[in-house]
Symmetry: C2
Subunit: 488 residues, 2 copies
C-alpha cells in the first residue's frame, strides 16, 4: 500500500497547510471565532484588499499626503469608515478637528486678531481691544477688518490652513529629515494655540472633535491633554481645573445629544522639556486632579519629541511619587517613538513598563527589544500604533515596513490610533485603520483582525471593568448591524 504523498519525497502538503494555519492563528484576530456573516464579510474584505494591492499605485507604499485621495476613493475605505471602530486611545487635544473648521469657522468669529511671524508662520488671539505686540511678529490685525479690505479671502484662508497642518504637495522635499518635520510640527501647534485656548473656542473645538470622531464611527476617546490655561476676551485666565471641568461638561453634553456615543476621558500630559523638580510639581498636581476628577481623568503622560527630550529614567523619582504616596496614577507613556537604537531614549519602553505604564504610546522601536516586548505582552500592556503619524514624522516610508507588522503577526496586544489626525490631513481613525489593515497587516488579515482591533480599543482602555462591559455591549450591537448591512 503506497499513497502518493507518503511515498513521495515531496513536503507533505497537509503539514504545510497546518504550519500556514498555525502561523495565521497567531496574528492579531487569528483566533477570533467568526460567524457565518462575518466570514462572508471577510470574503468581500479580501477581494477589496486584493484590488488595492494589485493597483499600480499601492497607497500604503506612498506618503499619506499623496495616498489620501486614492484611499478616500476606495471602496475598502468607505467600508472601514462605516465600521464601528471602538475607541481612539491615542489622540492629542489640539489636533482632533479638521483645520478647515478652525479657519472657516473660528477665524471668522468676532474679535479675532492675526499676526505674521518673522519665519512666515501666524499667531492668533481673541481680544476686545488691540492686543499688545509680541516679539518677532507683525502688529496684530483684526481679521474682520483685514478680510473686508481684500476681494478674495481664499488665498489668505489657504495660507492659514497651510500654517495649521503639515500637509504639502511634496513632503519628501519639504521635510528632508526628522529635525525639519518636527520643527514644523511644533510650529503648527503654536499657530493654533491662540485659537484653541480661547475659552469659548476651546469648548466648541472639543465638541466638534467629538462630532468628527463620532461621524467616523468612533464611540470613545482618550485624549492626551495639556490642560492649558484658557483665556477670555478680556484677557482673564481660567485655570487647569476649569479646563478639566470643561472637558467633563462637554462630554456630558455631547453624550446627551448623541446617546450612541460612549464618552471620553483625559490623559493629562506634560512636556519632556521640564526638569525633574518641575515635573515633581506637575505630578503632585496630577495626583490632586486625579483625586478630584476620577471620572474624566484617566492618568498621566509625557509628550514632545523623545529623541531630543529627557528619557523617562531621568524622571524616575518624580514618576515614582504617586506609588510612594500610596495613590494610584495610571501612566500612558509615549515610548519608543524613535529609530535611534541602543541609546538612553531607546530604553524608554522598558522604563515605561518598570514604571507600570498601562499602555505604550507608539512603541515603534519595541520590535528591537525582545525582552521588553515579552514583558509588555506578559503585563498585558498594549501598544498604541499610529501609522500615519509615524510616516509623516519620518520613522517609516513604506507602511509594509512598519514594525507593527511584526507585532500583528505575533498577535501582540495593540490598538490603532491617529495621534494628530488634523495635522496630517486625516480625520478620525479610518485612514489609520486603512493603513494598518491594508499596508501593515497584509493580505491574510481578515474580519477577525478588524474585530480584535476594535475590541482591543475597549479592552485596553482606561475604563473600569464595568464600563468596559457596557461599552462592549454597545459596540457589539453596532458591529452586528455593520456586518449585516455590508454583506456582499
Amino acid at each position: 500500500l503506497c499513497w502518493t504523498v507518503l511515498c513521495s519525497a515531496m513536503p507533505d502538503p497537509n503539514y504545510r497547510e497546518h504550519l500556514i494555519k498555525m502561523e495565521q492563528s497567531q496574528q492579531t484576530g487569528g483566533r477570533v471565532l467568526l460567524s457565518k456573516a462575518e466570514q462572508q464579510l471577510g470574503v468581500l474584505l479580501h477581494k477589496l484588499k486584493q484590488q488595492e494591492m494589485e493597483s499600480s499605485e499601492f497607497p500604503p507604499a506612498m506618503h499619506f499626503f499623496k495616498a489620501k485621495p486614492l484611499i478616500r476613493n476606495s471602496t475598502l475605505f468607505s467600508l472601514l469608515q462605516k465600521m464601528p471602530k471602538g475607541g481612539a486611545l491615542h489622540v492629542h487635544d489640539f489636533a482632533l478637528v479638521d483645520v478647515d473648521w478652525l479657519v472657516k469657522n473660528v477665524t471668522y468669529r468676532q474679535h479675532c486678531y492675526v499676526c505674521f511671524t518673522d519665519d512666515q508662520s501666524v499667531r492668533f488671539i481673541f481680544a476686545s481691544c488691540q492686543p499688545k505686540p509680541v516679539p518677532h511678529c507683525s502688529e496684530w490685525m483684526l481679521l474682520e477688518t483685514m478680510r473686508a479690505k481684500i476681494d478674495n479671502c481664499t488665498d489668505l484662508d489657504n495660507s492659514f490652513i497651510r500654517n495649521l497642518t503639515l500637509y504639502t504637495d511634496n513632503p519628501e522635499a519639504a521635510y528632508p529629515n526628522q529635525d525639519v518635520v518636527w520643527k514644523r510640527f511644533e510650529e503648527t501647534f503654536l499657530a493654533a494655540w491662540g485659537l484653541v485656548t480661547y475659552a469659548p473656542v476651546f469648548k466648541d473645538y472639543f465638541f466638534e472633535g467629538l462630532k468628527q470622531f463620532n461621524a467616523d464611527n468612533v464611540m470613545y476617546l482618550e485624549l492626551r491633554a495639556l490642560l492649558p490655561q484658557t483665556y477670555e476676551l478680556d484677557g482673564t485666565l481660567n485655570d487647569r481645573v476649569w479646563t478639566l471641568k470643561t472637558y467633563q461638561e462637554v462630554v456630558k453634553q455631547f453624550v446627551a445629544e448623541h446617546p450612541d456615543f460612549f464618552g471620553a476621558r483625559v490623559i493629562f500630559t506634560a512636556h519632556r522639556g521640564l526638569n525633574a523638580s518641575e515635573l515633581k510639581e506637575v505630578i503632585k498636581e496630577a495626583v490632586q486632579l486625579q483625586r478630584e476628577f476620577p471620572e474624566i481623568m484617566a492618568g498621566f503622560d509625557l509628550v514632545g519629541r523623545e529623541d531630543t527630550g529627557r528619557p523617562l529614567w531621568y524622571y524616575r523619582e518624580a514618576l515614582s511619587l504617586p506609588a510612594e504616596l500610596g495613590v494610584s496614577m495610571p501612566y500612558f507613556f509615549h515610548a519608543g517613538e524613535t529609530d535611534v537604537q541602543g541609546t538612553d531614549v531607546d530604553q524608554n519602553m522598558l522604563d515605561a513598563l518598570l514604571l507600570n505604564t498601562s499602555r505604550i504610546g507608539h512603541g515603534f522601536a519595541l520590535v528591537h527589544h525582545p525582552t521588553t516586548k515579552a514583558l509588555s505582552r506578559k503585563m498585558g500592556v498594549a501598544v498604541e500604533v499610529c501609522p500615519i503619524s509615524n510616516q509623516v514624522l519620518k520613522l517609516v516610508t513604506d507602511m509594509r515596513n512598519h514594525p507593527a507588522a511584526v507585532l500583528m503577526s505575533e498577535g501582540h496586544p495593540i490598538v490603532i490610533s491617529s495621534d494628530d489626525p488634523a495635522l496630517f490631513g486625516a480625520s478620525g481613525l479610518s485612514y489609520d485603520f486603512y493603513e494598518a489593515f491594508v499596508g501593515i497587516a497584509g493580505l491574510k488579515s481578515d474580519t477577525g483582525t478588524l474585530k480584535e482591533l476594535a475590541v482591543n480599543s475597549i479592552r485596553y482602555s482606561s475604563l473600569s471593568p464595568k464600563l468596559k462591559e457596557e461599552a462592549l455591549v454597545k459596540w457589539q450591537k453596532k458591529w452586528d448591524k455593520f456586518v449585516v448591512e455590508n454583506l456582499p
Copy 2:
C-alpha cells in the same frame, strides 16, 4: 533597617540593569566571550559608531548612492575593511567586479564590438569578424575603431559605466518604484552579458572578483552562478561543464597565488521564469554536476525577481526530485525578498524550509512569519542579509527599519552579504558590514557582533565540517592579528 532602594517605590535599578543585560545578551554576538583586547577594540568601535550617529547626515538613513562617499571617508569603514570578514555567502556571478574594470580593461581588449539598443542601453560582443546584427540594436561597431575616431573617450566610457550599474545621482527620481528598478537591474545584466561570457574574459572576471573580495579581507566565496555557455572568438560555444571546470581552475590558481585565501564554491542557479518541466531538466543536470564536481559545486538555487516569478511551491515536484532519487542536493533558496504580505510568494520562506534549504537568501519578509522564523532557527538555517541590495531594490529606505534589526536583536542566525556589489557601486562586503553594524544593529552591537557575523559566514557555509574547522583556524589567526593591530 531600610535601604533607600528597598523602601522606595522606584523601580529597582538592579533589576532594570539585569533586564537590559539580558536583552543585550540575546542579540547577535551578545554571548560571545571577548578577550581584554577585543573589549578594548569595542570601546573604539563604540566611539566611532557614536560619531556616525551624531553626525548631521547619518549614512544608514540615506540611500547608499548618496551615503557611499560619507561611508568611504569614515574611520569606522576603514576599520571594517581591514577586518577579516570570513566568507561572502550570497554574491552573484556577474556582479562581483567593479564595472570600471569591465570598461577600462575588458572593453579595451581587441575584437570588442558594441551596439546601442533602441532603449539606450548597450550590448557587447567579441568576434574575429563583423558580427551579425541583433534586433532593436544599431550595427555592431568595433570599439577600437570607434575610439580611434574620437578625441576623448571619457564620455563614451562613462556612458558604458552608467549602463553597467544602477548608480545614479538621484535614485529616488530615477527609480520611483520596484518595477522600474528591477527592469534597470535586469538591463544591466544584459549589457554586461557579452563581455562576461566571452571565455577569456569569463576567467579573468572571476579571477578579478576573487582579487577584489580578497582585498576587502574576505577569504571565501559562495557564488550564485548561472553557469552559462561561454563563447570563443570564432563563435564556438563552451558548455556548462567547461564553465564549472573553469571556476574550479580559477579558484585553484587564485589560492596558489594567494595562500591566505581559502577558496570558493558555486551554487548553480536557474531562473524563476522556467516552467515546471523545464526546471525538472535543469535539476537533473544539477544532480549530474553535483555528482561529478562535488568539490566546487555547493548546491542549487532559483533566481530572478520573486514578486513576478513563480513561487517555490509551484516547483515542488522538480525540487523533490533529488530526494526522490536518494541523492543529496543542498538548496540555498532566495526566499522572502519581497514586501507583499500574505501572498503565495510570501510563502516561499516556509516552502524553502520544507524543501530543506541550507540557507535563506534575503528572508526580508521573515519577521512577518513567526512560525517560519521559529522553524528556521530550530533548523539552524541562516538568513543571508544583503542590506544595500534591499535598499537599492526599494524594499527599505532607512536601514534602521531593515527587518534584520529584529533578527539581530533576537540573535537569529544570519550572515551579511552583498548580493551584487558591482551593480550598486559597492565592493566586497565592507559596505554591507557598515550598514549592518552601524544602521541595523544599533549602538549596542559591539566586537562580539562583528565576530559572530564573521564566524557565522564559515559556520553556515556549505563547507564540510573538516574544511569549516580549517577555515575557522585560518580566520582566527587573521582576526587576532586584526584586533591587536587596531587597538586604540
